[in-house]
Symmetry: C2
Subunit: 249 residues, 2 copies
């Protein structure tokens, strides 16, 4: 009996520790470093071309170089970071030629995504997408264009998730991130103001299951991104410490 009581108490404690305490304490360090860098790049705090020094990141994120290098490699394979052997990692800086290829690839894939989304979108999906549009708009209202840009990308990615095609999601994750870099480098502003309307109209078409209309709207939407860019412009390059200044406060 005594043993039983003891046993169950231990079970209880184990549960408490695993399900309550651990989530509060756990750091999931590798994901952290990756996410911080990813967000830093997509929020335009890290400009294209910026050198990413490993020990510097080590100090900023309080993890070893092992995890920093893991994060950088992952970002490289997502095409958001370039790693040159023995030279180090840099925030990717797509050339105009590559930018054109990226937008064409998005055109191809996202037209297929919209079609699938029209077929499979549920009521819950629509609500989720609507919420993301609202979040993007609220960022725009606050004048925080960097956040708006990131949330715009999340809307497109969510559409691919709704479409239910894992390879499309995987490919688009990289392409959308690269598009953010392209906009950071080449956009001459203004062109992004109409995004909300376009996203809303797109969602309406998807809700109705109107594949034809949805694809046309997506094509226009992606076309506007290209139109909003001036590929003769050259980008500015920021430094790492400035981009993560908020971590040292």
């Amino acid at each position: 009996m005594c043993r039983y009581w003891f046993h169950h108490t231990v079970i209880l404690l184990t549960e408490v520790v695993n399900k309550v305490l651990k989530p509060l304490v756990k750091k999931d360090a590798p994901m952290d470093a990756y996410r911080q860098l990813f967000d830093g790049i997509l929020s335009q705090r890290l400009a294209p071309g910026t050198k990413l020094n490993e020990v510097e990141l080590t100090l900023l994120f309080s993890v070893s170089r092992t995890l920093i290098r893991q994060a950088l490699q992952r970002l490289q394979l997502e095409q958001v970071v370039e790693i040159h052997k023995n030279r180090g990692a840099f925030v990717a800086a797509p050339t105009p030629e590559l930018a054109e290829q990226i937008l064409l690839a998005r055109h191809t894939i996202e037209l297929a995504v919209v079609k699938l989304a029209c077929q499979r979108c549920t009521v819950a999906d629509v609500q989720q997408l609507q919420k993301m549009i609202d979040l993007e708009q609220s960022a725009i209202d606050q004048g925080d264009m960097a956040t708006a840009l990131r949330r715009s990308g999340e809307f497109h990615l969510q559409l691919a998730i709704v479409a239910g095609n894992q390879p499309f999601v995987h490919a688009l994750r990289g392409l959308i991130s690269q598009t953010s870099l392209i906009i950071t480098m080449y956009s001459h502003g203004g062109g992004n103001a109409c995004a909300r309307d376009e996203h809303s109209q797109l969602l309406e078409a998807v809700k109705r299951g109107d594949e034809q209309q949805g694809q046309e709207l997506m094509a226009h939407h992606l076309g506007h991104i290209a139109q909003g860019c001036d590929f003769n412009h050259s980008p500015q390059v920021a430094n790492v410490k400035g981009a993560f200044a908020h971590l040292n406060s």
Copy 2:
């Protein structure tokens, strides 16, 4: 004068060392481990679901776990390997549902690739592609279907390279590898015998710049892959030592 002679001799020696000796000696270890594993999987020596033990690979390839883990992470991001936290890495084993998604994604992307290839294919490109078809056929003639399958994939990838769209190349690299896994798991043979003819016809259309015909042929070709599979079949699982037995000879 004496110094000059010395100086130039050093230059010469440096050049000799860098340009002649190093390429012969160099190992490029990380790429090696990655390539070996990649080829092992695509050549069907490593069956889907196989556990990839890190120290075992360490001994096989004579590099530290650092590089093994690098290679595994890269393979994971190419969707050829699955890594479960604290559980280890496994050769990916796409479910029938994922297989369907993969083939649909290929359909979407490769139709666009063929179109671009029709527009941009040069004489040199045609020669290169023809050579790859011949290599694939010679593997078939020798009854080495594993090599044939790998070379078939390389043909498709080369087509994307000819098309000149980097994101398409990047996405297809993973999708083609995954298709190899799908065929390994679910193919009931026979369906692949007609591959050569289809690749040849495809190349003819591309050479003529006939986008319409090229896309139709590609669509049929990809359709045949799906038709050649039986998604009720369950896969066999091999062990690592057996797959790399040739390294220990």
